[in-house]
């Protein structure tokens, strides 16, 4: 029998996170006054030890022993050879995936929730707050807080709270208190309820409530937590790729292709950043962040300084964006909008170290279902985007007759997100893609914007 899983012992688990900020140069986030955002600006909601990580350019950061002890509950995560998928595709490619669905909440999210809870604990924090949409991040943070004896308050967008009562139960099982947002517990929530007592809520209101709950605690013992986009979140996730690198060493292979879905960027960064480091040091490896074809900002948008509103009230951040002033043509609207992405991932695109790919949702679900029927695990909808590129690359390898090694991040299982599959099975999804001409039209809006310096960490 051919081995499917490449395992590490707990002793072999990485002891340090890899900080990509040591190897790339970044344009700083800018405040409303045009100056860089300072660490103290974030101090009311994050403990200083995490803020130090957020701005650190130290290449390796030790993983504290108490964090390792909790991560060892499910880590090291297996690197799995997708033999059945390979067979179905009749490809000479060897396909591997890091199975992040094996964590207690079923996704990669606790890789950062656990250290965030730990750093808050040692900073003297007793309670954490956060917002969650359908509950994936809220579940991960509830779990993490339970491991360090912290209270956890989760503001869950009402529409999802009502649809997914089991998420509240899941968080409660870990001691987290999940309340529907808007709630009566914060000024932001009460204002929203005054406007509409039956409002289904929104992420904007939920984040306002979570921040307010942290800031308004006069004891100073409450902080807020975020599960995506920020540098320290990407840092904590690199344990995925560091493990994968060791696992490939064990079998004497190295990937030709690394793939991860890029929404906020953390599951892509987690697998890819250690391989980006290798690429910086001369390794030949193709690295693909994958986004939905409807939002091709990384794929085609220019790298610009852009801000969050037309009045210029919010800070300018260097990012790939098609901006706010573009009015989509009537028939071709999809994707021509701002799409949030971790600044570190945007920078890697700018430097040419990673190559964004986009896939249609139909191709994503085709690949997701094919993989479920071969490998058995039902992938989270986000994971299916990576899978679509994996399938494409495997077919390409077959055409070229090349035995490529492909690895992707299986960021979570889809057992709590089956509604998305239901729509696919009902034939409700359709595809549409943008033309280069339409994208080019969008770029004209940045003519009068400041241009970020195209920084590169090497010649």
């Amino acid at each position: 029998m051919e081995a499917r899983k490449i395992l590490l012992t707990e002793d072999e688990m990485p002891r340090r996170w890899y900080n990509i900020l040591a190897d790339i140069k970044m344009n700083p986030p800018l405040g409303p006054d045009g100056n860089p955002v300072k660490p103290e600006d974030l101090a009311p909601v994050f403990p200083m030890n995490l803020i130090e990580q957020e701005v650190s350019d130290q290449r390796w950061i030790d993983i504290p022993e108490p964090v390792l002890e909790v991560l060892a509950t499910w880590r090291p995560a297996p690197l799995v050879r997708a033999l059945s998928l390979e067979k179905a595709l009749q490809t000479p490619a060897k396909i591997y995936f890091k199975n992040e669905s094996v964590s207690p909440p079923g996704s990669h999210k606790p890789n950062t929730a656990v250290p965030q809870a730990y750093y808050n604990k040692v900073f003297g924090i007793e309670k954490m707050t956060t917002e969650t949409g359908a509950g994936q991040w809220g579940s991960a943070l509830s779990y993490a807080c339970s491991q360090f004896g912290l209270e956890c308050k989760v503001f869950m967008v009402r529409v999802s709270f009502d649809q997914k009562p089991y998420r509240k139960s899941m968080m409660a099982a870990w001691g987290g208190k999940c309340v529907p947002s808007p709630s009566t517990e914060t000024r932001a929530g009460r204002e929203a309820l005054e406007k509409d007592p039956h409002t289904p809520g929104s992420l904007g209101i939920a984040i306002s409530e979570a921040i307010e709950a942290a800031v308004a605690d006069g004891s100073g013992k409450t902080r807020y937590s975020l599960g995506s986009v920020l540098n320290h979140v990407m840092l904590h996730q690199t344990i995925i790729g560091l493990e994968a690198r060791k696992q490939f060493e064990k079998i004497g292979l190295y990937p030709d292709v690394v793939v991860g879905c890029a929404g906020g960027g953390s599951n892509f960064a987690g697998l890819a950043f250690p391989f980006v480091q290798d690429k910086i040091n001369g390794k030949q490896v193709e690295i693909y962040p994958v986004e939905p074809a409807a939002c091709p900002t990384l794929t085609k948008a220019p790298f610009v300084y852009d801000h969050g509103d037309t009045a210029g009230y919010t800070p300018l951040l260097p990012m790939h964006s098609l901006g706010h002033a573009f009015v989509p043509p009537p028939f071709h609207a999809g994707g021509l909008r701002y799409h949030g992405m971790a600044p570190t991932v945007s920078q890697l695109v700018t430097e040419g170290l990673v190559t964004p790919r986009s896939v249609t949702q139909l191709d994503a679900y085709h690949a997701g279902v094919l993989t479920a029927r071969t490998e058995g695990i039902i992938p989270a909808p986000e994971t299916t985007h990576a899978l679509a590129v994996v399938v494409e690359e495997a077919r390409k390898a077959k055409e070229e007759g090349k035995e490529k090694v492909i690895v992707f991040n299986w960021s979570g299982h889809g057992l709590l997100d089956l509604g998305a599959y239901e729509r696919y099975f009902c034939g409700e999804l359709e595809n549409y893609e943008l033309s280069d001409a339409e994208i080019a039209k969008g770029e004209s809006i940045f003519q009068n914007y400041p241009k970020p310096e195209l920084l590169k960490g090497r010649p």
Partner: protein, 92 residues
């Protein structure tokens, strides 16, 4: 806008991670009543731009298409300032 046949259509919201109806997408925004991603998310199902233009004034439509979410750090800084001001901790 009045209820209409599209209101009961559902899709997975990429921001929430769960299913929402079109009615939610056209009413859950902050600022403009529509979510800023309403066009991104629904163009595959029906001609949502045509629909929106038919139900909005030109300035409302322009406001929607020029709106976008703040970058995360910017959002945090902004919300911290507002929360501190509301709590009386800062003169902003």
């Amino acid at each position: 806008m009045k209820p209409d046949p599209y209101d009961d259509l559902e899709r997975r919201c990429p921001r929430l991670g769960g299913p929402v109806s079109f009615h939610y997408c056209r009413t859950s925004g902050q600022g403009p009543p529509q979510c800023w991603k309403v066009i991104d998310c629904w163009w595959e199902r029906f001609e949502v731009v045509t629909y929106l233009k038919a139900h909005m004034t030109p300035s409302e439509f322009d406001s929607l298409t020029s709106a976008k979410p703040k970058p995360k750090v910017a959002t945090l800084v902004d919300l911290i300032r507002r929360a501190r001001a509301a709590a009386g901790n800062e003169d902003t």
